[in-house]
């Protein structure tokens, strides 16, 4: 079987201690929450931290707290299962509920956390492979190699942000709070996933630990998530459409985010413009879907034929918008 490489295990109890270890050890240290992403990567030897810092015992990293102003604070250590099962989330943030429920399998959702999900490493089927496999292709740019085999002339890596949570958090306008030895900082999801390279897709620094996820009050916004994958369980998204729409007769505001088509989620800006002020008629939806397709250029590094994935963008955007239209 595949074995983990050797590493030092640390299990601090406060956020300050975590920040201190990350500061001292530098990029050779990694935090681990559920480990459902980090450990497989370590077995493949694509990540080989010298020190693994467990967040399990760290105080203050959990909680699903609804505040009086209608905003919601989620601790990053909350399991995906606990979010999926939260009744108020299901009622008020159906898009988030759907996204959480769609992640992998129940077993994995019992282990995996939302913090890990939002910091999920980007994926590529030239990268999520064993050391021996990658040696056969002379490795690739994201780990140990020089070339991106998906786009050999590309100076950047096109590994895919395959989190279901990420596009939804962007659509919801969430804010993430981090702590490092330098102190605390806050960043919107939109700004966090702003890298243009599958090796540096997040503006999070390696010495920062996520402490809070804050979702602003939605004030009746409709939220939906549509996921494309091969099977009804287990599989990562190969396309995810997250939408947040405020309707008041006509569309007052809209966030239309396409996930799993590149290193960061993509905002379908042109489609948003078209939808704004519309009544979500069939015709507008068709047009918006066609526009959205232009924002997404999936490549050949996930399941399915990639031209087909591109073909599916308008289909899933349409489905998301129709679902939103049907929501009350």
């Amino acid at each position: 079987m595949m074995r983990l490489p050797k590493f030092t295990w640390r299990a601090p109890e406060t956020v300050a201690e975590v920040a201190k270890i990350l500061h001292e050890e530098g990029p050779e240290a990694k935090v681990v929450a559920g480990g459902t992403d980090l450990y497989p990567n370590m077995k493949w030897r694509v990540e080989t931290p010298k020190t693994v810092v467990s967040l399990r015992k760290v105080e203050g990293l959990t909680g699903i707290d609804w505040r009086d102003d209608g905003s919601l604070r989620i601790g990053p250590g909350q399991t995906l299962r606990s979010l999926e099962r939260d009744e108020r989330i299901a009622a008020e943030l159906p898009g988030l509920h759907t996204a959480m429920k769609s992640i992998s399998t129940p077993l994995l959702r019992n282990m995996g956390t939302i913090g890990g999900n939002l910091c999920l490493d980007t994926r590529c089927n030239y990268y999520n492979q064993s050391y021996e496999w990658r040696r056969s292709i002379d490795f690739c740019m994201k780990c140990k190699g020089d070339t991106c085999w998906v786009a050999p002339s590309s100076p950047v890596c096109w590994a895919v942000n395959s989190s279901d949570g990420v596009p939804m958090m962007v659509a919801l306008g969430a804010t993430l709070r981090f702590t490092s030895a330098d102190g605390e900082r806050e960043v919107t999801a939109d700004d966090l996933y702003a890298g243009e390279d599958g090796r540096a897709w997040m503006t999070r620094r390696p010495d920062e630990v996520m402490t809070d996820i804050v979702i602003p009050a939605q004030n009746g916004a409709r939220t939906v998530y549509q996921k494309l994958r091969r099977r009804g369980t287990f599989d990562f998204p190969v396309l995810g459409v997250a939408a947040r729409i405020v309707m008041n007769g006509a569309v007052q505001s809209v966030d239309l985010i396409i996930g799993a088509v590149g290193p960061v989620p993509v905002r379908a800006g042109k489609a948003e413009e078209l939808l704004l002020g519309s009544t979500l008629s069939d015709e507008t939806i068709e047009q918006a879907a066609a526009l959205a397709q232009k924002s997404a250029t999936p490549l050949d590094n996930t399941d399915f034929a990639f031209p087909w994935r591109r073909q599916m963008v308008p289909v899933f955007v349409k489905r998301a918008l129709l679902e939103a239209r049907g929501q009350v």
């Binding site: 079987m1 074995r3 050391y131 021996e132 496999w133 056969s136 292709i137 085999w149 399941d303």
Partner: protein
């Protein structure tokens, strides 16, 4: 005869004999085994697909703390392989490597992590050779030859045979249908990854515990390579966590652990990673096929000319047999009066293809059943009706000289037609929804063994204890299919015992008589017949003495309910153990044997050894799907399947096999894809359980199984096979249902959604291969059919005659 009496166990569903242990976690699979001082092995595998080995430097690995031994290929120069005609594998390659994953060196170390690091430290220098990555390329390019044997260049095997005048039959046809279809490769995906443990006793005798389906063939290969007499090597087949054909070749790692244990004098275990299991492969060959079928307008086949091109991957494996199998069984379902088959298996620099559930027959079955669906449409005949009109008669000989004993196919079709509401619903469901029908047939064990010999295919030995327990010894191997239970059931039924009174000892070459192994759906039929014979002999002995004691004639003795008694006065009798004690006192220790060989087959031409069996099973299935017109994705809503089982020995086990076949077949139809990256040196695209997609419980539809039971006199209590046949109709049934749903044809599996979209856009509403290459056949073996007055032999070709004289 056994079949006309009331049964105690047969046909019911007692718990399987290994069930509780498996549920309780007590079953020891190969990877659960551990011995004092045990070492762990790892194989260094080639990172390149085709190369000469220039040098191997193991010094760094040897110097690492914890490393006990490093082996390279020169220490085991003798080749091996499953078929006598393809002894083309070396335990560790020393001259050249032929695919990414070919083992080159082995390490034994104190733990698996150390072995892994040492394995990585081995440095091999290669001189790379051009790579051949598909069969068409291989056929077109003689050089570089991957092997220095075979028919020519990279053609491993080329066969051509004709039965009757096919061209004349085409002339006489109202329609000729020509179709080119492609069946993509897929692999077994057994839950258990292969593992083996080798150790050497103080007396020098070697034991290999292994997750193998064929301990007897592994025994032969290991003895050959290790240069030891069979009496010094013992193979113990551990219960397999699924096999499906993936553990029926002898493998490098199984012999490596034995050699390493000889070298280190310590037990050595290896457990493969999932990626290595993908590299072991021996799964479904990619087969490109061209079928020409002549038909009369009332729907009778006049002749078929079937051609197949198989991508064999890097080694022979069972491939010669697979090649013949892609041509053999087309004739046993429907009447095919004239038939021609041409087949080529090519070597490529990919993981070796081999036998997977259905062994070489799912591919042609897909081609034929889809072709029939098209023919039915063209002729304006309902697809079920068309098939019913042309079913092969029972007790008949096919054009290619296969003997069909009993055939329950018509009843199977009727059952699924009725169950699915076919007549009211086919062609009439709302767009996107569709029904598809397909049929199939499979052998109940190959008529011939892997290596030519005249001995039985299965042997069973019984030891009867005076306490009333019976131990039954047989070389069969439990791979999850329930063979231990079938063995115990046959014995217990004959002797009137409960399953728990029978102790099964299986798959151990030192202790059990040879059974050829768990492949070709042979175990229930062959082992079952052997077990019945052994048990009946024991009953004979015990019954004789019991009758004497009771003072009644022998034919009045009944064995039932753990008692031996008088049929006319059931009160009069004794317990089974008392009866055994009487017999033992009279004539000494009681033990019996039984054995079985399949009946001879009428065909006597070259290649006639592939296809015959004691009796064929038959299956018909209807699949209901929803195909999403916007995405091309297919959901299977329901499956109706009827299987001609002869007689179900254990009903739950049989239904489990049917459902398992449906499950596996749907995966092959919809997504399973052993894909390679041709532009990246031929690496496997996704050797993991996450990215190699097979269906999950989410995708598994409701399955309505009907068992058609007309006991076949050749089967044990009338039973036929069920392990493989029910898989076969799934792929064509899904493709046919897709046509009913959206009016498109995808003549290719897996039916990925992009193919459906492509077909929807295409003018001819079809996606699939368009061309079939020239197989370069120069010599066709011509055999007269029975109708033509043939005798099953082929007159020698002029070429052969020339060689002889």
């Amino acid at each position: 005869m056994a079949s006309d009496r009331e049964f105690n166990l047969i046909g019911k569903s007692p718990l399987r004999v290994d069930g509780m242990a498996k549920c309780a976690g007590q079953t020891k699979f190969a990877d659960d085994l551990s011995m004092p001082r045990m070492l762990f092995a790892k194989l260094h595998r080639s990172p390149v697909a085709h190369a000469k080995i220039v040098g191997i430097d193991t010094s760094k690995a040897e110097a690492m703390p914890g490393v006990v031994a490093v082996l390279t290929g020169k220490s085991m120069p003798i080749p091996f392989g499953i078929l006598p005609v393809s002894q083309d594998e070396h335990v560790l390659a020393f001259d050249k490597v032929r695919f990414i994953g070919d083992p080159v060196a082995a390490v034994a170390a104190v733990d698996e992590g150390t072995a892994y690091e040492a394995m990585l430290a081995i440095e091999v220098t290669y001189e790379e050779l051009p790579v051949v990555l598909n069969a068409e390329q291989a056929l077109a390019n003689e050089a570089p030859a991957i092997h220095d044997y075979g028919d020519d260049g990279n053609v491993h095997k080329r066969v051509s045979m004709q039965f009757g005048d096919v061209e004349q039959a085409f002339e006489d046809s109202d329609e000729i249908f020509t179709d080119i279809t492609l069946f993509g490769s897929n692999t077994h995906l057994a839950m258990e990854q292969h593992a083996s443990l080798g150790h050497v006793a103080a007396d020098g005798r070697v034991t290999i515990h292994s997750s193998t389906q064929t301990p007897h063939y592994l025994h032969k290969a290991a003895c050959k390579v290790l240069e030891l007499p069979p009496s010094r090597v013992r193979i113990i087949a551990t219960p397999n966590g699924g096999g499906f054909g993936g553990k029926s070749d002898p493998f490098n790692h199984e012999i490596v652990v034995a050699k390493l244990s000889q070298v280190t004098n310590r037990p050595v275990k290896i457990s493969l990673t999932r990626e290595e299991v993908f590299q072991c492969h021996r799964g479904r060959h990619t087969v490109l096929m061209k079928s020409r079928m002549g038909m009369t307008k009332d729907g009778k086949i006049t002749g078929i000319h079937f051609q197949s091109l198989l991508d064999g991957g890097s080694y022979g494996s069972f491939g010669v047999a697979t090649t013949y199998y892609t041509g053999a069984l087309q004739t046993v379902t429907y009447e095919v009066p004239t038939y021609r088959f041409d087949g080529v298996r090519a070597f490529t620099n990919k993981a070796p293809s081999g036998p997977k559930r259905g062994h070489g027959t799912p591919q042609p079955r897909f081609a034929i059943e889809v072709q029939l669906d098209k023919a039915a449409e063209k002729l304006g005949i309902d697809p079920a009706e068309l098939r019913l009109r042309m079913i092969q008669p029972p007790e008949s000989v096919t054009a290619n000289w296969l003997y069909v004993n009993s055939i329950g196919l018509a009843e199977c079709i009727e059952k699924v037609v009725e169950g699915s509401g076919w007549k009211e619903r086919f062609g009439k469901l709302p767009r996107g929804h569709g029904l598809g029908l397909a049929c199939s047939s499979y052998i109940s064990g190959a008529g011939l063994p892997i290596y030519w010999n005249a001995m039985p295919h299965s042997g069973v030995q019984l030891k009867v204890d005076r306490g009333g327990g019976v131990a039954v010894f047989c070389g069969e191997t439990e791979i999850g299919q329930g063979s231990d239970t079938v063995l115990a059931t046959c014995v217990a039924e004959v002797l009137g015992l409960e399953l728990l009174d029978v102790r099964v000892c299986a798959g151990d070459t030192d202790l059990t008589p040879v059974d050829l192994g768990s492949y070709s759906s042979r175990v229930t039929l062959m082992m079952g017949n052997a077990a019945i014979q052994a048990a009946e002999r024991a009953r004979e002995i015990i019954g004789k003495h019991a009758a004497k004691r009771m003072g009644i004639p022998g034919n009045r003795v009944v064995f039932a309910g753990n008692r031996v008694f008088d049929a006319e006065d059931p009160e009069r009798g004794m317990s089974f153990s008392e009866a055994v004690q009487i017999a033992e006192a009279e004539q000494g220790t009681i033990g019996t044997v039984g054995s079985y060989s399949p009946p001879p087959n009428p065909g006597r031409y070259r290649g006639s050894g592939v296809g015959p069996t004691a009796t064929y099973s038959y299956t018909a299935a209807v699949v209901e799907i929803f195909a999403d017109e916007e995405t091309g994705m297919i959901e299977v809503d329901k499956v109706w399947i009827a299987h001609d089982i002869g007689r179900a020995l254990n009903r739950n086990l049989v239904i489990g096999q049917v459902e398992g076949g449906v499950y596996m077949g749907l995966g092959e139809a919809l997504m399973e894809d052993m894909a390679y990256r041709e532009k990246r040196r031929g690496v496997l695209k996704h050797p993991s359980m996450l990215e190699y997609k097979s269906i999950t419980t989410h995708e598994m539809p409701e399955v309505i199984t009907t068992l058609v039971e007309h006991p076949d006199p050749r089967g044990p209590f009338g039973a036929k096979e069920v392990g493989q046949g029910p898989l076969l109709p799934m792929m064509p049934a899904v493709a046919n249902a897709l046509h009913d749903a959206l009016g498109v044809r995808v003549d290719q599996v897996p039916i990925h959604p992009d193919l459906v979209m492509k077909a929807l856009k295409a003018k001819d509403k079809r996606a699939g291969p368009k061309k079939f290459p020239d197989l370069l056949i120069t010599d066709t073996q011509r055999v007269k059919t029975q109708a033509e007055g043939g005798d099953g032999t082929a007159p020698r070709s002029p070429k052969e005659k020339a060689v002889q004289s």
